[in-house]
């Protein structure tokens, strides 16, 4: 614990990251209560007003208050990101551990593990964004499909990571000892491999949340994400794109800023967790 405090003192950026996540959390929970305007109510008379007292972030082409929309969009983007990352985690981690544990050995389980890894190879051959984009476009733009697509493309990373982790842990003597004590294979995998590997998985999980949020925004930007006019950061940037070129910078700037800061916060915290838990760096 003292090391954590020491670490925080030496790395003020970590505190910034934690604060960012905390603020995001507040926005997710209390968002709709904090907004001055209705985020989905159009008022074309007020279109494209610059930032000011009435509208902190200005209004977009449909007259909707950008500040309100940015805050409400936080809820959607974060929920999608966290949900997708969680699904990826819970599918990828067990698969990875099992693949690592049973891989490279004789018997049909090893064959299954090989097949799984070849499958992961094939999925990872497709550029991530393109794969997700086609998935959502083919299945239809909806929040559910976005979550599914983003979760799906992130599964191989967990599988690979946990598999290599499991491969190295299973060679250790205490696994053999557990075997000699009469434990069946599955219980060894569960009770002994899991706790050791979960740390790697969690760190990757926090990184994945950030990736998932950015991916969602990117998908929405090209129209293969959430349907309009849901307040979502990527969509808002897409809406504001033309305005950017003609000089109205605010419709696209603020959602992008919110997006970048949020993902940055997650990245910083994920990196900090990894460094705090690394005993060699003390």
């Amino acid at each position: 614990m003292t090391y954590t405090l020491y670490f925080l003192r030496k790395n003020p950026l970590t505190i910034v990251g934690l604060m960012i996540i905390f603020i995001d959390l507040i926005l997710v929970v209390f968002g709709p209560l904090l907004v001055p305007y209705d985020p989905t109510k159009a008022a074309f008379g007020d279109a494209l007003r610059g930032p000011g007292i009435a509208h902190f972030f200005g209004t977009d082409h449909a007259g909707m208050d950008i500040f309100s929309r940015v805050i409400v969009a936080a809820r959607l983007d974060l929920l999608i990101g966290v949900l997708a990352a969680t699904i990826s985690f819970f599918v990828g981690v067990p698969l990875g551990i099992l693949a690592g544990f049973y891989g490279d050995r004789r018997g049909w389980t090893s064959w299954g593990s090989e097949l799984l890894m070849r499958g992961m190879d094939v999925i990872q051959s497709f550029p991530v964004f393109i794969f997700a984009m086609v998935l959502v476009a083919m299945a239809g733009t909806s929040v559910r499909n976005v979550v599914a697509a983003v979760a799906f493309v992130n599964i191989p990373i967990f599988v690979r990571l946990l598999r290599s982790d499991a491969l190295s842990v299973r060679e250790q003597p205490f696994i053999d000892a557990a075997r000699c004590a009469g434990n069946p294979e599955w219980r060894i995998a569960l009770r002994h491999l899991l706790p050791n590997s979960i740390r790697t998985g969690l760190i990757q999980g926090s990184v994945t949340i950030g990736w998932a949020i950015i991916l969602t925004a990117g998908l929405s930007f090209v129209g293969a994400g959430v349907p309009t006019p849901t307040p979502e950061w990527g969509l808002m940037i897409s809406d504001g794109a033309q305005n950017m070129v003609t000089g109205q910078w605010w419709p696209a700037l603020f959602p992008g800023l919110a997006l970048g800061i949020t993902v940055f916060g997650f990245a910083v915290v994920a990196d900090s967790i990894q460094r705090v838990m690394d005993p060699t760096a003390r």
């Binding site: 950026l13 070849r118 499958g119 190879d121 094939v122 999925i123 051959s125 497709f126 550029p127 991530v128 964004f129 393109i130 794969f131 984009m133 086609v134 998935l135 476009a137 083919m138 299945a139 239809g140 950030g210 990736w211 950015i214 925004a217 990117g218 930007f221 090209v222 129209g223 293969a224 990527g234 940037i237 504001g240 794109a241 950017m244 070129v245 003609t246 000089g247 910078w249 696209a252 700037l253 992008g256 997006l259 970048g260 800061i261 949020t262 993902v263 940055f264 997650f266 990245a267 910083v268 990196d271």
Partner: protein, 370 residues
Amino acid sequence: MGFGKSAGVVSKRMWVTARSRVGVLGHLRGSRVVGYLRRRALFLLPQLIGITFVTFVLVRLLPGDPATRILGSLATAEQRAEFREKLGMNAPVWEQYINWMRDLFRGDLGISFFTSHPVVDDIRDRFPATLELITISLIISLLVMIPLGILAGRQTGGRLSRLADRIVFGYGLLAGAIPDFWLGLILLFVFYHQLGLAPPPLGRLDIGIQPPPTITGFYTFDSLVTGNFQAFSSAVRHLALPVATLVFVYGGPILKMTRQVMSSVLDAPYIEHGRTLGLRDRTVILYALRNSLPPVVTITGVIFGYLLGGAVLVETVFSWGGLGQYAVQAVQNADFTATQGFVLVAAVFSILVYLLVDIAYLVIDPRIGT
């Protein structure tokens, strides 16, 4: 004077010939690379088949009816039936797959609904634009990030070094957080709208300038080689912002990896021992660089693969007219032959890049493959 002099006579000629025969890359004793390629080829085929399968399934998961989408909602039932028949969509799924594979073998990717051209031609026309963009972005990323990463990784402990390290650290995290499409827009706003330095986001050349004759399809290379400096300068000016965007966002991982690997290599026992022996600074740094190479090569390859997908968004922002924009249009227009073709090409390209990376790794590290 020295030890070992009394130990015997060295056959000088033997030493010299042995060394020149084997050379620095001596570990590449012929068969190693070939053997590896042979083993990889075995995996390649199933992987390629797997890709075609996944592509097929992916695109045919179409919930909507392409007939309605293309012909419009006013089309009659007969027209739609005829359309479906023409595209062979009434055959059972596995038969469609076989037909498609057969066409693939002949190099036929179908006709795009939207452009009415063969998809192969569409892709061939647009591929150089994307390739030029991502290749130049990668080269510049390497030129900028690797030296920075080396400097930051050295960690000499001085104030400047620690500051550089902090900046690198912060930027590394930032680079992955900032959306590339948003950054492109911001750069456009600042450099085009406010400062008037950059051209408008309307493609690769100024309107009115003819593209140079196609040698490679790279406007920069082709115009330079044919002495068309007007086209060259126009191409470069149009490349500036999209390349800057890609370099900023995708260079981050290269920088982080270089720094990390440099730092951990410099901690290695053999580096410490080198210093203990009083080796010259230059020698030690050379050892460190050489040992840092493998992960950097890997990440470069990985990023190159990522860039293909990443370029999609940037191309859209800058109306680049490359594969990325083509893909987005295809998807938005439910052009499933084009989508199929594009996804397949992208996947094959990725596989090739990863294969090259693995071969490069083999060349660099003598421990692999023995």
